[in-house]
């Protein structure tokens, strides 16, 4: 490489100097992010003060904690350490998870929970194998069987009824066309199917279960509802409410937008009636009022009653959330769907709902989180959810006087679940973000 003949012309790039120390590294970052102005500096210092003050109070409490004192009681904790008494969680951990479920059967709810995750995978994550959807479809019955036990023939009888009813709805149209004419065939087949399923559930399921079970007894040991409690109870009510309220909510939202007068009136009436009543009132109805109206001796499971009420409550809110999404779509979308010659079902399924649901995701997830936290209200009707178990634990003379450890533990549990839901919704929003960016 030849030297440049002109001596004062540089023959290459001068290497870059390192940036001045105040424009790089932690100093620069702090200047930009923490002390970028007088107001921000003051806020930063105040925030730091609060953080340190909290840590100063909480850390010694956490570090000086007692986990395995000689005497498993608050007294034993106090004898051992100054700070938190986590021995109560050590002693009651399984009670907080499973309630009063028989310990030798803990594998059943655990298996139900694992299967729940597997069954949810194809719904929540795109990459999961589609074949799992079959498991998702029958999961409610599997979960019920695992947690409550009983004969296997009950759930099978329910499946049989649903399959036969479904066949009547799907295939019966042509048969009925011959009887009632072209126009009413599909309607009659749908009505017959629903009528059949209802009759089957009310009249056939339990005799069938008893009959087959006496011949071929296969089943799991039955567990009464009063054995259920703790986080398991919260999760059962929460997941049933979430899973059932979304489809019901969609149906109600569409019903409210419908041109059919009766459908619309029913939807509006239902939504407004349920939204006009506090959840606690509905829980009281489930807990006490239904007992008056049912024939004496009927045992209509209290947890089932609560699940139904929570679902109805949540569905009414869900309907309004989704209606908001539907209303947010431009009118052109409907007109485009009509111009394509799509039927009502097709246009909703292919055009309107995908967009409406996408818009509504943050609100839907908010409703879910709210519903999940509302499950703690069942303490008012005496079900032993985590908060209920706190009061029974504190009623044990050994642990009376403990507050922060128990409530903190339950708060942590709810935070983990609610934060995961929130994170998932953010992932979903990013995945579905296709528009206007």
């Amino acid at each position: 490489m030849s030297k440049n003949p002109i001596a004062f012309v540089a023959d290459g790039q001068i290497p870059a100097s390192p940036p001045p120390s105040n424009a790089v590294g932690p100093v620069k970052w702090m200047k930009d992010n923490l002390f970028s102005g007088a107001v921000n500096s003051i806020l930063t210092i105040m925030a730091l003060f609060v953080v340190f003050a909290l840590a100063y109070e909480i850390l010694p409490w956490l570090i000086n904690s007692s986990w395995f004192p000689e005497e498993m009681s608050l007294k034993g904790c106090r004898a051992e350490a100054e700070g938190a008494c986590f021995a109560v969680l050590v002693e009651r951990r399984w009670q907080f998870v499973f309630g009063f479920y028989p310990p030798e059967l803990y594998w059943r709810p655990t298996l139900a929970f694992i299967l729940l995750i597997v069954a949810l995978a194809p719904v929540l994550v795109e990459r999961a194998p589609r074949q799992l959807l079959a498991l998702t479809a029958v999961y409610p019955l599997i979960g019920f069987l695992l947690i409550w036990g009983g004969s296997i023939w009950g759930p099978l009888a329910i499946i049989a009824g649903l399959v036969i009813g479904g066949l009547i709805i799907a295939k019966g149209g042509n048969t009925f066309k011959a009887v009632v004419g072209e126009a009413f065939g599909p309607l009659v087949s749908v009505l017959t199917g629903i009528f059949f399923i209802t009759l089957w559930m009310m009249l056939a399921v339990s005799p069938l279960e008893t009959a087959i079970h006496s011949a071929i007894p296969i089943g799991l040991q039955e567990i009464q509802s009063d054995k259920l409690g703790g986080f398991m109870l919260s999760l059962i009510i929460g997941f049933v409410g979430i899973a059932a309220s979304l489809p019901i909510g969609i149906a109600l939202a569409l019903g409210r937008q419908s041109d059919l007068m009766i459908v619309k009136a029913i939807s509006v009436g239902f939504i407004e009636a349920i939204r006009g009543v506090p959840l606690i009132t509905l829980l009281f109805v489930a807990s006490v009022l239904l007992n008056y109206f049912l024939p004496p001796g009927t045992t209509f499971d209290i947890i089932l009653r609560v699940c139904i009420m929570v679902t109805l409550f949540s569905a009414a809110y869900m309907a309004e959330v989704i209606r908001g999404g539907i209303a947010g779509l431009p009118k052109g979308q409907y007109e485009a769907a009509d111009a394509m010659g799509l039927t009502y079902g097709q246009s909703m399924r292919l055009i309107i709902l995908p967009q409406a649901l996408k818009i509504s995701i943050p609100n839907i997830v908010s409703s879910f989180i709210g519903l999940f936290k509302d499950t703690t209200l069942v303490i008012i009707i005496g079900l032993l959810d985590p908060l209920g178990l706190i009061s029974t634990t504190r009623a044990d003379a050994a642990w009376n006087g403990i507050v922060w450890e128990l409530y903190g533990f339950v708060a942590l549990f709810f935070f983990v679940f609610c934060y995961s839901m929130s994170k998932y919704s953010q992932y979903l929003e990013r995945k579905l973000a296709t528009d206007h960016r």
Partner: protein, 338 residues
């Protein structure tokens, strides 16, 4: 108008069906278990242990009834009830008997249609103050801030008491006992008032119980006892006399340990009638002859149950006080077994 009638008719039919159903005793025997309403957790009176087994002073009453009726003290389904659901749970038949520190009052007995079968604990509203406050009587509490549970009879009792004594106070409303403990310990209020048994239990949990004292005044009567629905007198009798059997057992010196021995060896005819070796008291109730012996066999007589759950040897450390036998100057008194 028509719908209203239909609904009303349905409701009446349901109520009629409810009252006309077979007796509670038959229901309990058919179900093979006693449904007993208890508190969702009250120190010494009702609480499940780490294995989910319920224990406590009120729970022992349930177990005694189950033993008397079914011969098995574990054949009890405990239904936790809150202050708001307890009465509907009993009225609707969700529970057969309510043993849940419930005060026997006129309106509950008469208006709500229940039958209090007796009193298993005489309580009363008291006051707890820090010793350093230097107060020796509730009458010195002029101007004090008082932590009080809202919506309870204690709230009304407090207002009555202070008005009658022409002194003023400032209420700090709280919702639960847990909240009260926190507020009281952080000096948000000078005084905490609730049932004296509850105060004693709360004080026992403090790091330094000696820094707090209960004032001598008891400002209300809170007779607590088990209750059943109106209208099924046989069932009411069974619950009443099971409780009386426990009380009489103490009076006659029948304990868990010596019951089976005394049944044959005792010279006292009342002991023999109680334990079913003489007379036919059990048959009159529609139960086995050894019903009372079975009830006593669960956790012993009234004194034994008291000592094991809330007595002076426990953390709660309640003295017998009003709840001593009438022969010891207390109010616990059972009609004779004759």
């Amino acid at each position: 108008m028509k719908t209203t009638h239909l609904l009303g008719a349905a409701a009446v039919a349901a109520f009629a069906a409810g009252t006309a159903s077979a007796g509670t005793l038959d229901d309990v025997k058919a179900a093979g278990e006693l449904k007993c309403g208890v508190s969702t957790g009250l120190v010494g009176f009702a609480a499940p242990d780490a294995n989910g087994v319920w224990a406590g002073f009120d729970v022992s009453v349930c177990r005694a009834i189950a033993a008397a009726v079914l011969g098995d003290s574990d054949a009890v389904k405990f239904v936790p009830t809150t202050g708001k659901t307890r009465f509907t749970a009993l009225a609707s038949g969700e529970v057969d008997v309510l043993a849940r520190n419930t005060t026997w009052t006129f309106s509950r007995d008469v208006d709500l249609g229940f039958e209090f079968v007796g009193v298993n604990y005489y309580d009363g509203q008291g006051f707890m103050v820090p010793t350093e406050l230097g107060v020796t009587s509730a009458k010195d509490l002029d101007g004090a801030t008082v932590c009080i549970q809202t919506g309870t009879t204690t709230e009304l009792n407090l207002a009555d008491y202070f008005r009658a004594n022409k002194i003023s106070y400032e209420p700090v409303p709280i919702e639960t006992n847990a909240e009260a403990q926190q507020k009281y310990l952080s000096n948000a209020c000078d005084v905490y008032t609730t049932d004296a048994s509850g105060l004693a239990a709360t004080r026992a949990t403090f790091e330094d119980p000696d820094a707090h004292m209960l004032l001598p005044e008891i400002v209300s009567k809170e007779p607590l006892g088990p209750l059943v629905r109106h209208g099924d007198n046989q069932w009411g009798d069974i619950v009443r006399w099971t409780l009386n059997a426990l009380i009489t057992a103490e009076e006659l010196g029948v304990t868990k340990a010596n019951a089976s021995e005394l049944a044959n060896s005792s010279n006292n005819p009342e002991v023999k009638r109680l334990l079913g070796t003489e007379g036919d008291l059990g048959a009159m109730l529609g139960l086995e002859a050894g019903w009372a012996a079975a009830a006593i066999g669960v956790a012993g007589n009234y004194a034994e149950i008291f000592e094991a759950n809330i007595g002076e040897s426990t953390a709660i450390g309640l003295a017998r006080g009003l709840n001593a036998q009438w022969t010891d100057g207390g109010l616990i008194y059972s009609p004779p077994f004759r």
